[in-house]
Amino acid sequence: MIELKDLQKKKKRFKLFLFVSYLLFATLLLSAIFMLHIYFNNLTSIKKFEHQATIHAKDKMEYLNFFYENVSNTLKAIAKNRNFLNFADRNQDKNIVKNLFLTIIDSDKYYMQLRFIDTSGNEIIRFDRDKINATPYEVPKHFLQNKYPRYYCKRCLLLPKGKIWFSNIDLNVEHGKIETPFKPVIRIAYPIYIKNNYKGFLILNIFMRDYLKILTLSPTFDVYLIDEKGYFIISPNGLYNWSRYTKNGKNIYKIFPKYAKKIMNAKNPLFIEKEKIFIQPLKFQNSQNLRLIYKEKIEKIKDAEHYVAKRTFFTVLLAILVAIPFAFLLSSPINKMYESLEEKSNELKDLANNLESKVKEEIAKNAKKDRLLENQSKLAALGEMLANIAHQWRHPLTRLSLILQNIRLYSSQGKLNNNTLNNYIQNSLEQIEYMSQTIDDFRNFYKEDKEKTVFNVENSIFNAVNIIEASIKHNGIDMEIDITECIKIKGYPNQLSQVILNILHNSKDALELNKVKNPHINIKLYKSKNFIKIEIRDNAGGVPIDIIDKIFEANFTTKKSTGTGIGLYMAKTIIKDNFNGNIDVENSKEGAVFTIVLPIKSL
């Protein structure tokens, strides 16, 4: 027996285990779904980033190119001017040219300096603007310098015809020192050739602060502008601006160590998916190699991270909340199983405690049931007996009735003589005698056997046949009895007769029900080894296969209105208990075959 305490403990432990498992399972499942969602979300956000950065960068590149082209055109326009050419060639129209220079530099607030430098490096004409938006002015002659030693001057004196030159965007240097605050400047030069003679070059300095600002302006991205060496010109929040000139000189190799090479080698727009970095190379003709680097704004990343963290938290919370009822629901059937097990175990315990009284109770119940069955059986037998008597008596009653009616008729007609009357009376007495005999037969038949006696089996068979004969004949059933030898056994002759009668009754009912043509019943008695066998066959089609196993069970009947289901059950009980024999049924081609097997030992 299962210990109750143990079971309860196990139940608790199992319940917890089950609950936690379900909880874990549900949480993991929901989390996994969420992670997947984030992953795909991320994927789309990457695509979105690339798309936006591409458009943005292209825009900026075009902006810069436009700038380059514009300033180039400005210089080219001067170079085409007749007065300027006269001036360059023959030093004529100087005032006109000065005016022209002033007009040009005045036309753009970002123009810092416009000069004409001859082939020796001497500044010939120079107009300056000190700061953005300030008024340009002409630098007096005595302030003009020879720039030949400067790198850009040497570079520009080598320019071929028609080729424009762009300096790097660089910080303005005054007196050999970088001017602070930083003043980013670009120089653009254009050579002046007259009839293939190099006469000098036009050079325009431009304040680049605002251009760079616009170039790197973005609401959505962190934008870096790097030079051809990988140093930062512009960086988000100015952190690494002009790093080439700062002490610890941060460059791209330090900030993006993994991808620096890739970035520096990029000739076309490049997207590094893993880091969400977009690189836009900037190059106009022979200008400096610059690169714009786009990165998601740090605040935005932080925002997103925060958002993800928040969402994760709520999702997990939700998952747990959902998992709790889920776990309860799923664990409840098994829990119920445990409960019913517990209940059963309790019952078992109770049962063990009062097994004795229970057994007594059940025995009493069974005895009551058996008595009930017996009574039912007796009632059924009584009913059958009455039906049989009715059959047996119908003819003698008819005869008596006819006799009496005829006596009355003859008497009324005065035709009743003594002879006729005597005949009628004699006949009537015979009928009455027959009827009385029938009653005796029946009474004896249903009499209880007080003790075992040695009896002739043949007699038992015929006693049964006598009872039912009238009814059998009445139904036109042919009955054949085949008894070859006289067999005696010890037992209860009336009980055996009753069993046989019961089987005959069933056969008769089946033949009648199935409206069998040429109905017949065969009874055969014979010895086989240590047994005697009584075989009763009919041609009523047999017992249906689906009920053949049940026909000896108590309360089983196929006769809806008249059957009590006692007959064959009692028959089996009698043969088993009182004769140590057996009764069985099988189907032949024609119908049912009941076989009663009795051991001869009982003699």
Partner: protein, 218 residues
């Protein structure tokens, strides 16, 4: 009235015959259907009384066979079968009535008369003088004295009364009255002459070349 009884129990059959014979009817009894179907003038009976349970063809099968032979004489089953299923089958097969054993002759007679005489009257007035009692098979004069008649004469009158106002052919009359005996029309004519001699007021009408009839008298 001519009655046919089919009953395998000798005693019962004989007592029924005794009763109806004593009541002036002409009764024929058969033990089984084989005997019955040897009867060549089955159509000349007024009523059949059949048992159901018999060796050979039972009552139901015999009735079926009769109907197939186009013999429409009414049949009453007299049987110990009391189950309603049997009653149902009997009526399905076309029996006219059904009576359970043991039975009262009076009841049986009532049922027969109901079948034979449709308007339920026992006494049929034939003319001013004579009246015929179907139940008793007797002819009365004006003063309700019984006219003494032979069995054949009663049969003849009953046949014509049963088919009152209809002409009954010579052959039918010969079959009914003399049954299987070889009789010619002269014998019939002689019989009629004899009967007329007994009557003061003749009610039998001769339709030349066709047969005889009794006119309805109100």
């Amino acid at each position: 009235m001519k009655i046919l009884i089919l009953e395998d129990d000798d005693f019962i059959r004989e007592e029924i015959i005794n009763y109806f014979t004593a009541k002036n009817h002409s009764v024929t009894g058969y033990q089984n259907s084989d005997q019955l179907f040897e009867d060549e003038i089955l159509n000349s009976y007024d009523i059949f009384l059949f048992d159901i349970n018999m060796p050979g063809l039972n009552g139901f099968d015999t009735l079926k066979e009769l109907r197939e032979l186009k013999i429409d004489i009414p049949v009453i089953f007299i049987t110990s079968m009391s189950d309603i299923d049997y009653v149902k089958e009997a009526y399905t097969l076309g029996c006219s009535d059904y009576i359970r054993k043991p039975f009262f002759f009076e009841e049986l007679e009532l049922r027969i008369n109901k079948l034979i005489i449709k308007d339920n009257k026992n006494l049929i007035k034939l003319n001013k003088t004579y009246t015929f009692d179907i139940k008793k098979q007797e002819l009365y004069d004006k003063d309700r004295n019984i006219v003494e008649l032979s069995k054949n004469e009663i049969k003849l009158i009953f046949l014509l009364v049963k088919n009152i106002s209809h002409i009954i052919s010579y052959d039918t009359i010969i079959d009914y009255v003399w049954e299987n005996k070889p009789i010619n029309s002269n014998t019939l004519r002689t019989q009629i002459k004899k009967l007329r001699a007994k009557l003061k007021d003749d009610f039998i009408e001769n339709i030349r070349g066709q047969g005889y009839k009794i006119k309805k008298y109100d």
